[in-house]
């Protein structure tokens, strides 16, 4: 094509054309003059005969143009000029859209990272796994082996477990690291290849603790070993045990839970060495986190579930004392049992973000309509001069698109920054959480799409105004002419916008209240002023037999610290820590057939020392707590919670002195009843729990709980000191109980934080909306207000005249938004603990917030209305 020379020749062509047309008119008027007309009349006649020369010239030029592109370019330049003229409105609009589009982009990024994006392994679509915590006592290593060998659905089945907080020592620098303990076939099941060295395989497993190999993740290899390729073959120590680094995993592979980034992988057959549950126990859920594998071609997930159920039924029959299998759920590998919660949160956030965008569009729509009305004279002139309406609309849309693209770009930028920060965010010190959110082309496309959609949404508002405009009327009417009626669509838009914002404010208030309530709800213990010391005796070489004596010495040593009120010990983890609740079947006294199906209850169980209830702040409702006499030689005893007593014995007072059977048939006598509490999660229904004396079921891994009002730092140091006096080689990990509760609080904190941000955005949008409306109505009516003041109106009357309407709209919008918001909290209750709409604080809070919004937003316009000087105003005309 020869369009390139065209562009350079075009200037000349246009000049030629203009000259030619001018000469034509000259020639005609000379002709007319020769026929006897005077010069002025001749020229007029010539022009009339020629027609609309501007329009004709433009038509002629259009012949040469790349037609739409050039007129779009012209629109673009004109729009930029227009936008620069009303800089305030433009900036406000861009900022509003940036907030709305940014919020949407972030939510999309989260959804993409958590839900849409598959695990970074080949053919991840056929990779299915069991859910952690779905079936207590089912996910154990022996059961995994049976499932692996007996199922007909999986090509091969691998399993993994999490090993958190292991001391990894490369020479003389032990540092806490987190890993996955995996079955030997893990990498082969996932079909991935090492980046460096080799992976371990099924053939490396030769019984317990037989495979001292670790594979580093790419990120950890870089962070800890500076990406040194000679790392393969190097010896390191994990909790004092020697291991060989055999390889490095490929970049982008970070295990099989999408939001957890481990540092290394080790064979599961070695996990017992690191103080994890043994592999021979069938009756546990702590030896395997999840089992997973690729479904065979042609096997549907439903068929696989039926298959796993069949294997489970067989196992239940074979090991009736150890297995009670309820049902199987298989999930796409990645989110495990967190999938519903994550989906719920993301869905709620998407909904709210969409509402924000809608509110922003309503806001911009009304601003745009007002802006168009202000420009009615300009538009009327253009119509009168022969421009057509599509051309004017196209130009208005160009302005809308420009604003939304700028807003979209700004919002995208903000969301990229925030998502980058989210991806390196470590909300909990002990859990290697890594949100796999990374801005990519998809995100850019979404932001662009949203920008265009919102440009369309708010750009369409003034269309009717322009289509209906009658240029003659407007030009005649002078400077006060407006397009459209007085009760404009603007008012409706503003009410919609305020209503949406009130919904946002209501939901975020409900969420915040829910969180506050859950922080202050009754846990069945008092985590304040309590320091926990995690001590794992196995890492210092203590056997199970020697553990209770050492633990007693530690308790007694800690009691001597100045300011300590009470000390107690709990095996494993205290309640609500790491969602690690352990359950066990119990049977009524007379039951002789101890199969799980006959169990009377499956309570959480804790093994605790004398003094534990005092240290935990758990109140005793009846009977006694444990003493040092409740040891191995004494009869088995138990303390139960109120719920346990209610279910089995009918009441608290009936329970003390009665018996029940533990899962192994031991008769235990109830010696005390304690208050109910939370054990595994904040949202659980009331669960039964029992406490057994730790001397009767010893363990090497325990937490010592110390209640004291002393400064936590000092107390922790004193505790470590006391324990090191007993054994200097014993690793002690101290944390406040409150800190240990972080993980369990995390989901509702996250939900509250994000909903809170949405609420703040909602408030900001209402402020801009009301402000825009109020400022506009004041500026349009300055004249009238000036006359009112000149005629002696009082301040209140002026304010009522100026701001009555915006405030009325605010009231209508807030009321309807509040109602809608209260309806929406039913949805919120899924993700926020204790979200209830029937809360006077929320109601009052929303009303108050919207009032403050109204005051803030109308303050400046009100000042302007009051400061009107009628003299100056009237002189202006």
């Amino acid at each position: 094509m020869n369009w390139i020379p065209h562009i350079f020749r075009r200037r000349k062509m246009y000049d030629d054309l203009a000259n030619e047309m001018r000469l034509h008119i000259e020639e005609r008027s000379e002709q007319l003059m020769r026929e006897g007309m005077n010069a002025k009349e001749a020229e007029r006649q010539a022009r009339v005969a020629f027609g609309n020369s501007t329009l004709l010239e433009e038509r002629s030029r259009e012949v040469w143009q790349w037609p739409t592109m050039e007129s779009i370019w012209a629109d673009l330049r004109f729009s930029i000029r227009q936008l620069r003229k009303s800089r305030g409105i433009t900036l406000a609009a861009v900022f509003t859209l940036a907030m709305a589009i940014g919020a949407n982009a972030i939510v999309f990024g989260l959804m993409d990272g958590l839900i849409l994006r598959p695990l970074n392994v080949p053919q991840s679509e056929s990779l299915y796994g069991t859910n952690y915590g779905n079936n207590p006592t089912w996910q154990s290593y022996p059961n995994y082996l049976e499932l692996r060998d007996r199922n007909h659905s999986f090509e091969d089945l691998a399993a993994f477990n999490m090993v958190l907080g292991v001391g990894l020592d490369t020479g003389n620098d032990p540092a806490s690291a987190n890993g996955f303990a995996t079955t030997g076939n893990y990498f082969d099941v996932l079909r991935i290849q090492p980046m460096l060295g080799r992976f371990f395989h099924a053939s490396d497993e030769r019984g317990p603790n037989s495979a001292p190999y670790i594979v580093l993740t790419y990120a950890y290899w870089h962070a800890r070993f500076q990406g040194d390729p000679r790392v393969v073959g190097r010896q390191v120590r994990l909790d004092q045990h020697p291991y060989t680094i055999v390889g490095v995993a490929p970049p982008g592979f970070q295990g099989t839970i999408s939001f957890i980034a481990p540092d290394f992988f080790m064979p599961i057959v070695n996990q017992e060495q690191l103080g994890m549950d043994g592999l021979s126990t069938r009756f546990t859920e702590h030896s395997v986190f999840e089992s997973m594998g690729h479904l065979k071609t042609g096997v549907t997930p439903a068929r696989a579930v039926a298959d796993v159920d069949a294997v489970s039924a067989f196992l239940e029959k074979t090991y009736p004392k150890q297995i009670a299998h309820k049902s199987t759920a298989l999930n796409r590998e990645g989110l495990t049992s967190f999938a519903p919660a994550a989906l719920g949160l993301v869905a709620a956030l998407m909904l709210l973000a969409a509402l924000i965008l809608l509110a922003a569009c309503a806001n911009l729509g009304s601003v745009f309509a007002a802006h168009t009305a202000d420009r009615s004279r300009e538009i009327a002139l253009r119509l009168a001069l022969g421009s057509n309406r599509t051309r004017i609309l196209r130009q208005l849309f160009t302005e809308a698109v420009l604003i939304s693209l700028a807003g979209g770009a700004l919002g995208l930028l903000a969301s990229i920054v925030l998502l980058r920060r989210l991806s390196v965010w470590q909300p909990m010190p002990d859990v290697p959480i890594h949100l796999p959110v990374s801005p990519d082309a998809k995100l850019y496309a979404v932001a662009l799409g949203l920008a265009l959609v919102s440009a369309f949404l708010f750009g369409i508002v003034p269309v009717r105004q322009v289509l209906r405009a009658n240029p003659y009327e407007i030009v005649k009417a002078g400077t006060n002419a407006r397009l459209g009626k007085r009760i404009a669509a603007r008012d409706v838009l503003l009410v919609v916008q305020i209503a949406i914002c009130a919904v946002l404010v209501t939901s975020s208030m409900v969420a915040v209240r829910g969180l506050i309530r859950s922080l202050h709800s009754n846990f069945g213990f008092d985590p304040h002023n309590t320091m926990a010391a995690g001590v794992n005796l196995v890492t210092a070489g203590y056997s199970l037999e020697k553990a209770p004596a050492m633990q007693r010495r530690m308790i007694e040593a800690l009691q001597t610290i100045h300011g300590v009120e009470s000390v107690g010990l709990v095996n494993g983890y205290p309640p609500l820590v790491y969602t690690a609740g352990d359950r066990e079947n119990v049977f009524k006294e007379g039951t002789s057939d101890l199969r799980p199906a006959n169990a009377a209850l499956v309570p959480f169980h804790y093994e605790v020392s004398p003094g534990y209830f005092a240290a935990a702040g758990t109140s005793l409702l009846a009977g006694r707590s444990f003493s040092w006499q409740d040891n191995k030689d004494a009869p088995a005893v138990a303390v139960i919670n109120r719920e346990f007593a209610r279910i089995i014995y009918g009441s608290v007072s009936n329970a003390v002195g009665r018996n029940f059977k533990l899962h192994d048939g031991t008769e235990a006598q109830v010696v005390g009843v304690v208050e109910d509490g939370k054990y595994m999660s904040l949202t659980e229904d009331q669960e039964a729990a029992m406490f057994l004396p730790f001397l009767q079921s010893p363990s090497t891994s325990a937490y010592l709980m110390v209640r004291s009002h002393r400064d936590p730092q000092e107390l922790a140091a004193a505790m470590r000191n006391k324990i090191h006096l007993l054994d200097a080689s014993l690793p002690v990990e101290t944390q406040t109980w409150i800190n240990l509760l972080e993980p369990v609080m995390f989901p509702s904190r996250m939900a509250t934080l994000s909903l809170g941000v949405m609420g703040v955005l909602g408030v900001m949008l209402s402020i801009t909306g009301i402000f825009g409306m109020a400022a506009y109505s004041v500026s349009k009516r300055l004249h009238e207000l000036g006359i009112r003041i000149a005629l002696g109106a009082k301040k209140t009357e002026v304010l009522r005249a100026a701001l009555g309407r915006p405030l009325k709209l605010l009231a209508i919008g807030s009321a309807s938004g509040l109602l809608l918001g209260l309806l929406a909290t039913k949805v919120l209750a899924y993700i926020v603990y204790q979200a209830t709409p029937r809360d006077p604080f929320v109601l009052a809070g929303v009303v108050l917030a919207m009032l403050v919004v109204g005051l803030l937003a109308t303050w400046i316009p009100a000042q302007r209305a009051l400061s009107v000087n009628p003299l100056i105003l009237l002189r202006e005309d």
Binding site: D16, E20, M21, L23, H24, R28, A49, G51, V63, W64
Partner: protein, 123 residues
């Protein structure tokens, strides 16, 4: 049926069917090269002022012909000593004109048949 009250400005453009003006320009230029003003004069005279064309509407049509390379233009001086841009038909223009005329004649014949069935058969 109520008569629609059309604004005056919109009807002018539709007085000629599309391409008619171009055809007349090409036909005039086939006889002799001319500049814009002369072309208008020529068309008006030849049509005995039956065709009231807005003089200026000639120019977009001329630009279209230029772009399609059916005519070429050159600045020069007229016999009356005016600076004028003279248009000349090209070979492609001649070709195009032949085609247009024959298709126009067929169309015209068709229209006449419809409007005046008795007359057409005798012709």
């Amino acid at each position: 049926m109520p008569i629609e009250n059309k604004p005056m400005t919109e009807s002018n453009a539709r007085d000629l069917f599309p391409g008619a003006l171009e055809m007349m320009i090409l036909e005039s230029l086939r006889r002799q090269p001319a500049h814009g003003y002369a072309l208008v004069q020529h068309i008006q005279q030849r049509s005995k002022n039956l065709l009231q064309v807005e003089e200026g509407s000639l120019y977009p049509a001329l630009q279209r012909l230029l772009k399609a390379k059916l005519v070429k233009a050159e600045w020069g001086v007229s016999s009356t000593n005016r600076r004028v841009r003279t248009y000349q038909i090209t070979a492609a223009g001649l070709n195009h004109l032949e085609q247009q005329i024959s298709s126009f004649e067929r169309m015209f014949e068709g229209i006449s048949l419809v409007l005046n069935p008795g007359k057409a058969t005798t012709g």
